[in-house]
């Protein structure tokens, strides 16, 4: 499965969740598939998707979905420990793992050398879903799971041919804040 297909399946299962989406092509693909004020697109600060998601989750009762990548998780791996120990019941952390830095030319990461889902379990995550390249993914099951959820999904490398997001950062921020308040 390609990453954009995974994002499409996820997007079609979302209702009123708040979404923090990783920098680069993941945000562009999500925006291209379906834009929403509920979605915060990162345009910088690689690695911090789960951290931003944790901050949002701890400040609201709404369900928060983080769309992350393997390279970004590796850049801020301490976040797995912090998120697990804070244990927000309203956070779903999805890692789309293509084993490469997809937005910069698909250079390899170390993600092929270990099982991210197993690492999450050893840190203490209880609800861990792992899907390989050929898995059928039912996001409604993932999203309806109780408590903190960690989801590891292997996807094929490669980016969809989608445009850059034609929005100013402040516009993304302002409508996201507004939708959280509602």
């Amino acid at each position: 499965m390609k990453r954009i297909e995974a994002i499409e399946k996820l997007s079609s299962s979302l209702t009123d969740e708040l979404v923090i989406c990783n920098i680069g092509f993941p945000s562009r693909e999500l925006h291209h598939l379906k834009d929403s004020p509920n979605q915060f697109y990162m345009m910088g600060s690689m690695g911090l998707a789960s951290s931003i998601g944790l901050g949002v989750a701890m400040s609201t009762t709404k369900r928060v979905v983080v769309i992350d990548g393997d390279g970004s998780v590796l850049m801020n791996m301490g976040s797995m420990v912090t998120v697990c120990n804070q244990n927000p019941k309203n956070l779903v952390w999805i890692v789309l793992d293509n084993e490469c830095y997809g937005s910069t030319g698909s250079q390899c990461t170390y993600a092929s050398s270990f099982q991210l889902g197993d690492l999450a379990k050893s840190i203490g995550f209880i609800n861990v879903f792992s899907f390989d390249l050929n898995s059928e993914i039912d996001f409604s099951e993932v999203l309806s799971s109780e408590g903190l959820v960690f989801v590891h999904i292997k996807v094929e490398p490669g980016n969809a041919d989608v445009p850059v997001i034609p929005m100013e950062p402040e516009e993304i921020r302002d409508r996201f804040i507004k939708t959280i308040k509602e």
């Binding site: 915060f40 400040s59 301490g78 976040s79």
Partner: protein, 182 residues
């Protein structure tokens, strides 16, 4: 001497908050500013302040693994309606430069940065001096305004004013607390 381009001259009147205890003064000032979400990494000089924050039921306290991660959490918390702050050693500023530029400056997000400034006058450890000297220059390079209160009562008066500036500017603001402050 250090670069002090963005240093702000306080406008408060010295008529309130006479403190002998530096940690207590900063804590009371944080409360007065309305900061209700704090991430932290320790410094010997921040130990007592961290305990006060941890014991305060009206402040959400999140110990983090790295300051950059903490800034991500603060950004999320701000969008979720909180008033965020970070307690850290000035070394953490170096760990967080990209997040301060490509998350906080880009999306215009405020945060109160309480920094123990090591490598200043009275430093016993020579290893702290290089980052100590670089700290004001890094703040200047990021165009982050900062205050440098020398006494507890100065900190008590300056910090709430600093937060108001941060909120009005939509930008981080620094409080540099030299070794002699404590």
């Amino acid at each position: 001497m250090f670069g002090v381009k963005n240093i702000i001259q306080p406008t408060y009147k010295q008529n309130e908050g006479v403190f002998l205890d530096s940690s207590q003064a900063v804590y009371e000032a944080i409360k007065k500013a309305g900061i209700n979400f704090i991430v932290s990494l320790p410094c010997v000089n921040l130990g007592r302040l961290m305990e006060m924050v941890e014991e305060d039921p009206t402040i959400t306290h999140v110990p983090v693994t790295r300051e950059e991660e903490g800034f991500g959490i603060c950004a999320g918390a701000f969008m979720g309606g909180k008033r965020p702050g970070i307690l850290m050693q000035n070394s953490g500023l170096g760990n967080s430069v990209n997040a301060l530029a490509s998350l906080f400056e880009l999306y215009k997000i405020p945060v109160l940065m309480i920094m123990s400034h090591r490598g200043t006058e009275g430093e016993f450890m020579g290893a702290q001096v290089p980052m100590g000297k670089a700290t004001p220059l890094v703040l200047d390079a990021l165009k982050i305004k900062y205050f440098n209160p020398k006494k507890p009562e100065d900190a008590f008066n300056i910090i709430p004013e600093a937060w108001q500036t941060a909120e009005a500017d939509g930008a981080p603001i620094g409080i540099l607390l030299d070794i002699k402050f404590w």
